[in-house]
Amino acid sequence: MATPAAGTLVSTIDVGARIDDITDATGWLGTLADEQGWPDATRFALELSLEEALTNVVSYGFAGTDRQPHIRIECWRLPEGRVAVRLIDNGVPFDPTSIAEPVVPDSIEDARIGGHGVQLMRHFLETLDYSREGEENQLTLVANAAG
């Protein structure tokens, strides 16, 4: 989904590229959840997914590059009670949708540290779409807010 053509842009925010800046993004989303009256499950799904996606961007998107980070987040209201949160960054190309599901380990000794963020996004979201547009990653998270 390159452009939520049938949607209405509700709000945007620019955030920094440090771990602590994630709080700005989740706080912004929480305010939107209150204003828009999203069900608790929708709020949880979008907040968790945005945090997981943004953690990847700030942790790896600009490592080893000298580019000035630009990270923008948009919230769109879509038809049929759905909500899209789109994360746009100018980090290195990274497609979370290409990440394989981690194998469920048999024991704590075998458990791999990491790799669970995308698994959680896939579970809690209706759709998760990625595209590379020019120098930007665009990741669109869609959840149902109809309740």
């Binding site: 771990i19 989740t26 669970h116 959680l120």
Partner: protein
């Protein structure tokens, strides 16, 4: 995030409140690992006051869980709220930890 520590028999009970998100994950992991290194009994992490957990929070628990298993000590979790339990179930962590 807030953590209260209490000795119950041979176990240390950690009552965690707040969000186990990415910004809080490192301090949470540091608190857990301090208890792992400073005590020699079991550890119970009471999550009744936790209303949000992301994969970063899971990661902190896994780091502590591996250290405890290596030392043949018990690390149990208790009192998970339904949404938190769902995150544990989806990621397969429910089978890795004793959950009361």
């Amino acid at each position: 995030m807030h953590i209260e520590r209490e000795q119950v028999g041979s176990d240390v009970v950690l009552k965690v409140a707040g969000r186990l998100d990415t910004p809080n994950a490192k301090p949470f992991e540091a608190s857990l690992m301090e208890v792992v290194s400073m005590t020699d009994g079991g550890i119970v992490v009471n999550l009744a006051g936790v209303d949000y957990v992301s994969s970063s929070g899971l990661r902190a628990l896994l780091v502590a869980g591996k250290a405890m298993r290596g030392a043949k000590r018990k690390l149990a979790l208790s009192s998970l709220q339904p949404q938190i339990r769902e995150v544990f179930d989806i990621s397969g962590f429910s089978t890795l930890f004793e959950i009361n």
